[in-house]
Symmetry: C2
Subunit: 333 residues, 2 copies
């Protein structure tokens, strides 16, 4: 096996077969992955079927707390989780750039496999393409996930009512900041870890709670973008309390230095939940009982009075969080 990926690894012949058998299939092996078939047979348990898909172009490919392989599992598994589904199956597409060291690819695929095992999902189908040197960025991944949800669960933007409460499961902006620091592009360094993780334990903890309206993971565009999605879909307003939103010191420091707003920075392991005000304490208690939710907080409310995202400052002032126009940190997922 050569030390770098070559165009021949993508051509449908012996080299591609060796790449698939010797690397992808070896790490991703499970009873439902058969690299000989055109389509995989899946056997989900009874329930409502959900499907979602996501692409990953994060740069650099590896960063503190994660890498593109693990992220490609977390991103898709989390979209199923916040929809109230239990993630079950995953398909993986890899666009590999010619010249990528074989050892790097192996490390990333091993991380993908490990993340899939931890999230209890099976990779059942995959495809690899090799693109010429310069026409990629090492590795792009696309994953599609299938999960099952309990029938009758009512969850969605259309369930949100004025008076509902917003919760977040942990500090915001860690992932975006960690990836940015890994690039060292502003001469900044730090040991902040990405929060990238499977959020399913957090979402599963709330599923049987009466008064749960909506959940979403604040990825691209961050918490502020989730708030805007709520405003747009509900026709209501969102009021956030700045003092209540957990933000880690290094994230705050980077934002102050560079003029960023942490509420627009991506998380990859957090959940924003909207719950009936009567259920907020119980939801928060359930999250606090989990390791991943120990820093969960009540951060705001849904209001009838305006169609904006308003941030209430600690001194009692207000500022509008506008819809994101230009991304301060592209390529974070």
């Amino acid at each position: 096996m050569s030390e770098h990926i070559t165009l021949a690894h993508g051509n449908g012949g012996r080299h591609m077969r060796e790449l698939i058998d010797g690397l992808f299939a070896r790490h991703l092996a499970n009873p439902q992955l058969d690299v000989q078939v055109d389509a995989a047979h899946i056997t989900p348990p009874p329930g409502d079927l959900f499907i979602t898909t996501d692409g990953f172009t994060v740069k650099p490919l590896e960063f503190p707390g994660g890498n593109i392989g693990a992220l490609a599992v977390h991103g898709t598994v989390n979209d199923l989780s916040v929809s109230g589904a239990t993630p079950l199956y995953l398909t993986v597409n890899a666009f590999i750039e010619e010249g990528l060291p074989y050892a790097t690819l192996e490390r990333l695929v091993a991380a993908l496999a490990q993340a899939a095992r931890e999230a209890n999902v099976r990779v059942v189908a995959g495809d690899t393409k090799v693109v010429p040197r310069g026409e990629g960025s090492g590795l792009y991944l696309a994953t599609t996930g299938v999960g099952v949800r309990r029938p009758g669960l009512r969850l969605g933007l259309d369930q949100i009512k004025a008076g509902d409460v917003l919760l977040v499961s942990g500090p915001v902006g860690d992932h975006g900041t960690a990836v940015m620091l890994a690039r060292e592009q502003f001469g900044l360094r730090g040991d902040l870890q990405s929060d990238a993780a499977c959020v399913h334990p957090l979402t599963a903890a709330l599923l049987d709670l009466p008064g749960l309206r909506f959940m979403r993971d604040p990825t691209r565009g961050g918490l502020a973008t989730v708030a805007h999605e709520i405003v747009r879909a509900s026709g209501l307003g969102v009021r956030l309390q700045e003092a209540m939103i957990p933000v880690r010191d290094p994230v705050r420091a980077v934002c102050e230095m560079l003029g960023y707003d942490p509420y627009y920075l991506a998380c990859e392991g957090r959940v924003v939940a909207v719950v009936d005000a009567m259920a907020a304490d119980q939801a928060l208690a359930r999250w606090h009982a989990l390791a991943a939710g120990s820093e969960a907080a009540r951060i705001g409310t849904v209001e009838n009075s305006h169609r904006h995202v308003v941030l209430e400052t600690p001194l009692g002032g207000e500022r509008l969080l506008e819809e994101l126009e230009d991304d301060p940190l592209p390529r974070i997922c």
Copy 2:
């Protein structure tokens, strides 16, 4: 809306929303596509569920008889079809290069939508990423398909027996040759059309035929690679009759000029079927009754005597078709 795709179209904010609402959702609209949700609810009819995924990096993006948008539907829908499933749902990932003209993207997405309608599949989820100028090739796509198969259908490489007959639904190598001619890289031009198409009518025509063993679409690596997959999985040999394999004149001419072998060139709308010898005539008759199968032919047999792919020449000679080592035509899908 700007005339070219910018990095802001991938950042999770207003520009991305406009791209998704104004272009993708507009063309792909169907009752199950809701761009507001993290995961889509799908409701397949009873049967065995199948899933498959494929990535697309064809160059150029548009070629006679197709483009990357339509191809991304055909490739995935065909993998379900040759597995014996009825394709139902599709997810789409787009990796768009900064600078791609908006009009080009719109044309490709419109073609994707049209191909999905023709194949009777619904696009239920999607994701877009924008990569910086130079780190892509205009557009890469990844699609995942879900379909349903009649329970109890026995179909697969493990069903193949010595004495079985190989059929092909039409001429081989059109797609690979058409894409190559579109590149004009050898100073060659021609009006050959790609065969890219949904093969479901062809596969559906054989599904209730007793003696149907296995179907596959000869894409990357072509007919010879499918024959090698049969040899590897069955431990048997494949004997092909050169005089029986349909190859169009322009494909033959290009192969003679460039020293290529048409049996390794990709098709994107053909099916290779392995059937019991007793069922071969009936299978062929069913294909001949379809427009897409009018040039179908019996091309070879599965043999017990060797573990090779042997091509019998018109003059009675034999040559081995080796496993593909180096692709003469990369980036054809």
